[in-house]
C-alpha cells in the first residue's frame, strides 16, 4: 500500500475518532435486516458485503446461544443492544483527568502507562492522542515500504475487496457459532493485515493499538493473512483497564498462514471486570482461529487475560499444512466475581503437525475459571504430536478452577501428552518468602509470576514486563 494512502488512513481514523464535533449517530436498540443495511451503508460497503452480512444474520436467527460453557450469567437481550453507534459524543466524557475515577488513575500509575496515553484510555475528551499521530505516521511509512497492508477492516472491504472475498469467513465460517454469526452480521470495527510473500513485517504491530485501544469496538473483526515465508507479530489489547459502556463484546479473529509463514498473535486483555459484586463488567465472547494452510506454517497464540466479568474464548489452530505448528500459551487470572472459560483447540489434519499448549490459570477471590482444550488428530495426521500442560493456582478457598481436556485421536502414530496440576498457593511458600523479609503482597506476586513464567517468556519483551505489572495489580488484596 502506498504511503499516502497510509497517511490518509491515519488522518481519517483520527478524524473519525477524536474531533469534537462529530454528530453522534446511533441506531435505536434492536436488530433486524434494516439495522444491518444501515451499518453496511454507513461503512460504505459494496452490495456483496451486505448480502454476506444478511446471510450471517439469517443463520444466527436459527441458532441458540451456547449453554455448555462453565459460566453463569443472565440471558442477554439482543434486542436491547444498539448495533451501531458512530463515535460517541464527548459531552458525557470527562473533560480532564481531574474528573476521572482516581482509582483508575492509580492503576495507570502502577502500570507505568505514559502520561499522554492515560487521558485517551480514560476516555477524556481532549486531543491528547494527537500527540501520537506523528509516531503513527512514521510507523505507517515503514510498513508501506515493506508492502505490508495494515488498516481497518472497513477500509479493507472498500480498498481490497479481492483479498476480503478470498479470505473473510474462510477460517471462522459465518455460522461457526452463535457469537461468530452475530459478529458476521453486525461487525463494525477491527483490523486487516496482509503481509506479502517473503516479507518479515518490520515491526511489532502493537504500538498503534496501545494508542487506539480506547476506540475498541463491540463487534470487532480482524483478519490477518501471511503469504508464503512471511512473518508478523501482532499485539492486541492493552494492559490498561478501559472504560467502555458496551457490556457485550463478541469479536472474531481469523488468521491465515500460508507456506512457511509465521504469525505470532499476542493478546493482553484487561477489560473492566465489574465492581466487587461483578456488576457492570464486560462479557467477552470471542472466536479466534488460525488456519495453518501452508506446509511448515506456524501460528502462536499468546494471551494474558485478566479482565472482563465473563470471558469465553478458545483461540484455535487448524493445522492443515504438512509439518505445520500451532502453539497456545495462556495466562488467565480471575479475581472478585469474574468468570472465565478459556482454552484452545488444536485440530491436526496434516502429516507431521505439531502443537503445544501451555495454560496457566490463577483464580482468587470468588472467581471461577475453566480450561477447556480439544486436541483432535485426524486420520491423515501421521506422526502428529501434541504436548499439553495445564496448571491452575488457587489463591484462597472461595475460588475454583476446572480442567476439561478433550482428545479425539484418529491416528495411531500420533503422540499426545497431557499434564495437569492444580495447586493452592502454598501457605508454606508464602511463609518461606515472608520469613525472608518479603511482604505478603510481594510474595504472592513473586509466586504467581513464577508460576506464569513459561507463558510470559513467549510475550514480546516490553509486554512481558507490562503483563507482570498487570498481574500484580489484578491480584492486589487477593490474600489477607
Amino acid at each position: 500500500m502506498a504511503t499516502e494512502e497510509m497517511e490518509q488512513l491515519v488522518r481519517r481514523e483520527y478524524t473519525q475518532g477524536f474531533v469534537t464535533d462529530i454528530e453522534s449517530e446511533t441506531v435505536p436498540p434492536g436488530l433486524d435486516e434494516s439495522v444491518i443495511a444501515f451499518i453496511s451503508q454507513k461503512k460504505g460497503e459494496p452490495e456483496w458485503m451486505l448480502e454476506w452480512r444478511l446471510d450471517a444474520y439469517q443463520q444466527w436467527l436459527k441458532m441458540k446461544a451456547p449453554s455448555w460453557a462453565h459460566l453463569n450469567y443472565p440471558p442477554i437481550d439482543y434486542q436491547a443492544i444498539s448495533y451501531f453507534s458512530a463515535p460517541k459524543s464527548k459531552d458525557d466524557a470527562p473533560k480532564s483527568l481531574d474528573e476521572v475515577d482516581p482509582k483508575l488513575l492509580e492503576t495507570y500509575e502502577k502500570l507505568g502507562i505514559p502520561l499522554h496515553e492515560r487521558a485517551a484510555l480514560a476516555g477524556v475528551a481532549v486531543d491528547a492522542v494527537f500527540d501520537s499521530v506523528s509516531v503513527t505516521t512514521t510507523f505507517k511509512e515503514k510498513l508501506g515500504e515493506a508492502g505490508v497492508i495494515f488498516c481497518s477492516i472497513s477500509e479493507a472491504i472498500r480498498d481490497y475487496p479481492e483479498l476480503i472475498k478470498q479470505y473473510l469467513g474462510t477460517v471462522v465460517p459465518k455460522a461457526d457459532n452463535y457469537f461468530a454469526a452475530l459478529n458476521s452480521a453486525v461487525f463494525t470495527d477491527g483490523s486487516f493485515v496482509y503481509v506479502p510473500e517473503g516479507v518479515t513485517c518490520p515491526m511489532e504491530l502493537s504500538t498503534y493499538f496501545r494508542i487506539n485501544a480506547a476506540n475498541t469496538g463491540q463487534f470487532e473483526r480482524t483478519l490477518i493473512i501471511c503469504e508464503k515465508q512471511a512473518q508478523v507479530s501482532y499485539l492486541e489489547g492493552c494492559t490498561a483497564p478501559m472504560r467502555d459502556e458496551n457490556q457485550l463484546h463478541a469479536a472474531v479473529v481469523e488468521l491465515v498462514a500460508l507456506e512457511d509463514a509465521y504469525i505470532k498473535y499476542s493478546t493482553v486483555q484487561n477489560w473492566y471486570p465489574g465492581d466487587e459484586e461483578g456488576r457492570g463488567g464486560i462479557y467477552n465472547f470471542v472466536t479466534k482461529r488460525a488456519d495453518c494452510r501452508g506446509d511448515r506454517s506456524k501460528v502462536s497464540w499468546t494471551q494474558v487475560e485478566t479482565g472482563s466479568a465473563i470471558t469465553w474464548k478458545y483461540p484455535s489452530c487448524v493445522l492443515r499444512g504438512k509439518d505445520s505448528v500451532g502453539e497456545f500459551y495462556s495466562v488467565a487470572v480471575t479475581n472478585g466475581r469474574q468468570q472465565a472459560d478459556t482454552g484452545t483447540k488444536m485440530i491436526h489434519i496434516g502429516e507431521g503437525t505439531k502443537s503445544t499448549i501451555v495454560s496457566k490459570g490463577i483464580a482468587a477471590g470468588n472467581s471461577e475459571q475453566a480450561y477447556r482444550g480439544l486436541v483432535k488428530i485426524g486420520p491423515r495426521a501421521k506422526g502428529a504430536r501434541n504436548f499439553t500442560q495445564c496448571d491452575s493456582l488457587l489463591i484462597g478457598d472461595r475460588c475454583g478452577a476446572h480442567t476439561f481436556p478433550y482428545q479425539e485421536i484418529g491416528n495411531s502414530s500420533a503422540t499426545v501428552e497431557h499434564e495437569a496440576t492444580t495447586s493452592k498457593i502454598g501457605e508454606d511458600q508464602l511463609f518461606y518468602c515472608r520469613q525472608r523479609g518479603i511482604s505478603e503482597e510481594d510474595a504472592v506476586n513473586m509466586i504467581v509470576n513464577g508460576f506464569c513464567k513459561d507463558v510470559f517468556q513467549e510475550l514480546p519483551m516490553e509486554f512481558a514486563v507490562e503483563a507482570e505489572a498487570l498481574l500484580n495489580v489484578t491480584l492486589e488484596g487477593a490474600v489477607g
Binding site: R434, G437, N449, G450
Partner: protein
C-alpha cells in the same frame, strides 16, 4: 536479645509446647536437642511467625519488641531468620531474584535504599563461593530440583547474604554428606560474632563438633527439661534421652 517466657502453643487443639522458657544473648550459640516430636521445630516456627500454631499463653520478645505482635516479614526484617528443616520449592522464581527481593525488603525496612545491582552480584558471588555452590544455582528456581544437601546449603547462603541477628537453624545437618557438613558449619561459624546469636536444632553431636555451642538444652514433651554446656550433648550422645526425662520427673 531473645526472651521466651512460659510459652504454651497448641496445634489443632493439641498442646505441643507446655511452658517453655529460653533466653538467648548476643554472641551466644544455643543448641536444642530432644526426641522426635518433642516440639523443637514448633518452637522455631512459632518464633518465626508460622500461622499454623496458636500461642495460648506466654511471651516472646526480641530486643525488647513483642514478637507475637509482629508480622512474619517484620520479624525477618528485625533480624530473626529461620533456616528451614524442609526448604520450600518455588517454581519459576529464580534463586537470585528471591535473594535480591529479600535483601532489598530488609534494607527498605531499615530505611536504606536498594543495593545497586553490581554490588549485589559481587556480594552474592562471594557468598556462593564460600558455600562452594556453582553459580548456576542463582539462575535456577528456588530449591526446585535441589538435592537435600543443596537445599540446606542454599538456606545458609541466604543467611550469609541477609546477615540475621538471630539465625535459627532447624536440623540444618540432616541430609548432608561429610564434606557438605563442613561447608555448612563454616558458613554458620562465619556468622558468629559478638552481636549475633545462633539457635540450632539438631539430633547429632557431629554438627556440634563443628559449631561449638555455648549452651545445650534438652527439650522433652514441650518443655526444656535440662540445660548445660557442650558436654551435655556428649552425655546425651552416649546415654540417650531417657535419663534426662526420669531426672526431671523425679
Amino acid at each position: 536479645m531473645l526472651e521466651v517466657k512460659d510459652l504454651h502453643v497448641t496445634v489443632e487443639g493439641k498442646e505441643i509446647l507446655k511452658g517453655l522458657s529460653l533466653t538467648v544473648n548476643p554472641g551466644e550459640v544455643h543448641a536444642i536437642m530432644g526426641p522426635n516430636g518433642a516440639g523443637k521445630s514448633t518452637l522455631s516456627a512459632v518464633i518465626a511467625g508460622n500461622e499454623g500454631y496458636e500461642v495460648t499463653s506466654g511471651s516472646i520478645t526480641f530486643e525488647g519488641q513483642d514478637v507475637l505482635e509482629m508480622e512474619i516479614e517484620e520479624r525477618a526484617q528485625a533480624g530473626l531468620l529461620l533456616g528451614f528443616q524442609y526448604p520450600v520449592e518455588i517454581p519459576g522464581v529464580k534463586n537470585v531474584y528471591l535473594l535480591k527481593a529479600a535483601l532489598n525488603a530488609q534494607r527498605a525496612a531499615r530505611g536504606e535504599g536498594e543495593m545497586p545491582a553490581p554490588e549485589f552480584m559481587k556480594l552474592v558471588r562471594e557468598k556462593l563461593a564460600y558455600m562452594k555452590m556453582d553459580p548456576s544455582f542463582l539462575q535456577r528456581a528456588v530449591n526446585e530440583g535441589f538435592s537435600g544437601g543443596e537445599k540446606k546449603r542454599n538456606e545458609i547462603l541466604q543467611m550469609l547474604v541477609l546477615q540475621p541477628k538471630l539465625a535459627m537453624l532447624d536440623e540444618i545437618d540432616s541430609g548432608l554428606d561429610i564434606d557438605a557438613m563442613k561447608v555448612v558449619a563454616e558458613g554458620v561459624n562465619s556468622l558468629r560474632d559478638s552481636e549475633r546469636a545462633i539457635l540450632m536444632v539438631t539430633h547429632y553431636q557431629r554438627l556440634l563438633d563443628y559449631i561449638e555451642p555455648d549452651y545445650v538444652h534438652v527439650l522433652v514433651d514441650g518443655r526444656i527439661v535440662k540445660s548445660g554446656d557442650k558436654t551435655l550433648a556428649l552425655e546425651l550422645e552416649s546415654r540417650g534421652y531417657e535419663w534426662v526425662t526420669e531426672e526431671s520427673a523425679a
